[in-house]
Amino acid sequence: MTTHRRWRIGARKVALTAAAGLALTALLGGCASSTPGSTSAAPSVSEADIENALDQETTITIWTWATTLTGIIEAFEKEHPKITVDVVNVGTGAAHYTKLENALKAGSGAPDLATVEYSVLPQFALGGNLVDLNTFGYGDLEDQFTPSVWNSTNLDGGLYELPHNAGPMALFYNKTVFDQFGIEVPTTWAEYAAAAKKIHEADPTVYLAADNGDAGFTTSMLWAAGSKPFETTGTSDVTIDLSDEGAKKFTDFYSPLLEDGLLAPTAGFSNEWYQGLASGKIASLATGAWMAGSLKSGVPTGAGQWRVAPLPTYEAGEKASAMNGGGGYAMLNQSPEQNQLVAAAFLKYMETGPGVQLSIDAGQFPATVADLQSQAFLDKPNDYFGGQDINKVFAESAENVVPGWQYLPYQSYANSVFGDTAGQAYIGHTSLEDGLKAWGDQLVTFGNEQGFTAK
């Protein structure tokens, strides 16, 4: 139970990270896409070096809260009998990063590889704690990954991860509840708002969705609305604007839902939240593709009731989506050379080799072009979702992700103070618009205190 909950939280965080990563990618997009990292730095390690390393008894350690690596590790160890891969779960999300930061600050004790979600990757890369994977010539793998996700791992000319998964957003909805209340699947946010009103008025204990102020969800919603609140130029110039046109589109649509109490004020991934999903009191979720696996394990009684629809848009027929979550495994500088070589081999195996299919089988949404375009993947019916080909919806969403989004180089701090500022709108202490502005102001102050030039 605990493990499941943790993993789910993890998945969400991963999703956030992925989104962040994407943002980052978008941020660095200019340089990353025009001059691929792959060609910018010549590999200093040859494949022969890696082969040699795999023939020596070595144990590498991975810190992650993901529970989906077991199959990959078994297969890898079978292929390379002298290698042992240890997985350590040091915590989920913020707890994991705290431990990692501490090990990095202490100068020892860090693992060889660690989960770093795309949204916080800039923060770790900026600290100079990660190995540039161009060292191993992995920049050449660019063609195998979807550009938006690849961009989130390429920062300022360095490649700090191979993408592991992605979280294109979609609308997960409980068809049984929708049918019961005569709700059509919303295709625009206006229809979504109308549905929220209709369902809650018909039965005050039922809500279309739950949200009690989630920074990851909000940033993804801003992203989908075309807002670009965070922009970093170079390494130190940060521009923050949480009241641009896109943000206004979002607040105009979302504020009435908050003011009229049309959203369940329930924290995501809490016990209460799962109960709400299981009992049909929370009828839909707008979130990343990874939720498919989380719903299946977290709400087993919902099998057959849930479906997936494209994320609603502001204009009918518009194509606009965003990423929510996702991440990869970063290699830490502290790792000794022999371990780095082995870890590099493992990364390649996991992200581009036989590990990819094993990941998909374990419920991950891939970031690899070949799989996203493979008919076998797209046409795979999902029994939990009544036999629907949900991957098609996600793949389409991935194509429609609004380009140009960036996360902050201190996104995890930003998320930690979301409740203090923007979150006040969720308890009626301020308007969402002013709350977001207050959030932006605090992020500007923090940025300047930390040596950035923020405005």
Binding site: A94, T98, E101, K105, L126, G127, T205, N212, G213, T235, S236, A264, P265, T266, A267, S270, N271, E272, W273, Q275, G276, S279, K281, P409, Y410, S412, Y413, S416, V417, F418, G419, D420, G423, Q424, Y426, I427, H429, F446, E449, Q450, G451, F452
Partner: protein, 304 residues
């Protein structure tokens, strides 16, 4: 005369012997002092050292003297957190101690059936880890689909949200009372058990009633224990962290990242990587707690 000569003897022998004795003494206390130095002094010194610098994500580390202290002491966020735990302390420490005292007196009164069952039942929550207790109560406090929500559905009434801005401190206080009452009750109860039976016999002969016995014998006997539990409870209140930090996932907007001074220090350090500011907050809170605890101890011992 005798006194004088013995003093003289000590003084005469003193020179040579004291030197040797002091070295042997050091050897004996060395394990303690080494442990003390590493476990207590070193972390404090390091925190103090950290608090004098400022490390930026860009631009490295610089010595800022008391800059971090000035910044924190002029930040309304810090005073907001301190004010909140002060209110909490003033309300809940007396409530909790009064309830513990009543429970201890009741169990000690010999008028309860199965006093051991009561003692165990009241003490039991103390054995529950604070984190688990906060999670458990968090589930119950849910107004939508939690226990509070279920009661609302069952009775058809609208109950106030225990995690709303107005009630959250009371909800946290409730968890704290539930958790720590048993422990304090046990301290009071053991203080009562050492009262000599003769005192009660004498009181009975003098015709004292049950309440008179409580006032004249039991309460004075408990006073030293009360002083100790009071100091510990006050320190505990200043260090309030687990309960709000866990409930924060359920009510992230009501319980801010700077809800209590400890949460503030924690979030400065681990969410914002402002280790130096966090160290300054920690030192400041340590000093404030020490002063308050000292004052309470002085007042309590003066009364005794």
């Amino acid at each position: 005369m005798t006194t004088m000569s013995s003093t003289a003897v000590r003084a005469r022998k003193g020179g040579g012997r004291r030197r040797r004795r002091s070295w042997i003494g050091w050897a004996f206390v060395a394990p303690f002092f080494l442990t003390f130095a590493f476990v207590t002094v070193a972390p404090l010194a390091y925190t103090l050292y950290l608090s004098l610098f400022q490390e930026k994500m860009l631009g490295g580390t610089a010595f800022v003297g008391l800059g971090n202290y000035v910044q924190q002491l002029t930040d309304p966020v810090f005073w907001d957190a301190l004010g909140r735990v002060s209110i909490y302390l003033v309300i809940f420490v007396p409530v909790m101690l009064a309830l513990s005292l009543i429970a201890a007196l009741a169990i000690d009164s010999a008028r309860l059936h199965f006093p051991r069952v009561f003692r165990l039942a009241i003490f039991l929550p103390y054995a529950v880890p604070g984190v688990v207790a906060a999670l458990l109560w968090g589930y119950m406090y849910g107004t939508q689909f939690g226990l509070v929500g279920n009661i609302e559905d069952l009775l058809g009434v609208a109950l106030p949200d225990p995690l709303s801005s107005n009630l959250v401190l009371i909800s946290i206080g409730n968890i704290m009372v539930w958790l720590t009452m048993g422990y304090n009750m046990l301290v009071f109860y053991s203080a009562l058990r050492v009262v000599p039976a003769e005192l009660y016999e004498a009181a009975e002969l003098d015709g004292a009633g049950a309440f008179r016995v409580v006032r004249a014998i039991k309460l004075p006997a408990i006073r030293p224990a009360l002083a100790v539990t009071l100091v510990f409870s006050v320190i505990g209140a200043f260090q309030l962290f687990n309960e709000p930090n866990i409930l924060r996932t359920l009510a992230p907007n009501v319980i801010t990242s700077h809800f209590t001074p400890n949460m503030y220090a924690y979030n400065l350090s681990f969410a914002g990587q402002q280790y130096n500011a966090s160290a300054a907050v920690a030192i400041t809170m340590g000093v404030i707690t020490m002063v308050v605890a000292y004052v309470i101890q002085r007042v309590a011992s003066r009364k005794a």
